[in-house]
């Protein structure tokens, strides 16, 4: 009975996630794109891992996330090889 609990508590396998940065996230990271090796299972966990979470409170209310070039939920499950973009407030037009 303890085995499933132990298994889910084990750290997941590290994944390669490609991050592409635009606008002020690019300014903050100092680069257009990067590939990170991470165990973050969701965009939210990745956001925190990058250190953004400490600086930007409640990002869900004003920052959007894209996974593989379409909008995604903050708690979407990331997969190895995914491309993630954090989308700061936009101002087109």
């Amino acid at each position: 009975m303890l085995q499933p609990v132990r298994r889910s508590a084990e750290p997941p396998d590290p994944m390669q996630i490609r991050l592409v940065h635009y606008a002020l996230f690019r300014d903050a990271r100092g680069r257009d794109a990067e590939t990170v090796t991470t165990t973050a299972a969701t965009p939210r966990a990745l956001f925190d891992e990058l250190g953004f979470g400490a600086a930007l409170a409640s990002p869900e209310s004003w920052i959007r996330v894209a996974v593989n070039d379409d909008f995604a939920a903050w708690d979407a499950r990331l997969a190895d090889g995914d491309t993630v973009v954090f989308i700061a407030p936009t101002a087109g037009g």
């Binding site: 606008a23 002020l24 903050a28 930007l56 070039d69 936009t90 101002a91 037009g93």
Partner: protein, 146 residues
Amino acid sequence: MTFQITSVPIDPSTWRDALVQDAPALAAGGIVVFEGVVRDHSAGRPVLSLEYEAYTALAVREGERILAEARARFAIEEAVAVHRTGHLALGETAVWVGVAAAHRGAAFDACRFVIDELKARVPIWKREHYADGPAEWVGVPGPPAP
């Protein structure tokens, strides 16, 4: 066509002619166009120029969705839009939206819907260069600290 991101200057008359061509068999009686032009002021500050940056793959995908929504929601024949990226001088066209319809009410409603949705949903960022201070990304509460 329909939604495009372009790094070259937008020529409104080229887009207007393309819209009319697209409206089948000249059945369109009314055309409504919205054009956003770079202003010389923003929130009271003097603007020298500005730049637009797009997440192109997603911007095109979301822009196409918005145009499809407009065609489904309003009695229009065609809706097209184009957004500029890069560095723009004062007076240049940042965004152009054109709608053709048999009746003008639908054309007005759809054109307004498209520009409102584009501004709210499409991942395009604007950085303004001011005469009185450093450039800033528009609409952002504050820069991320890390």
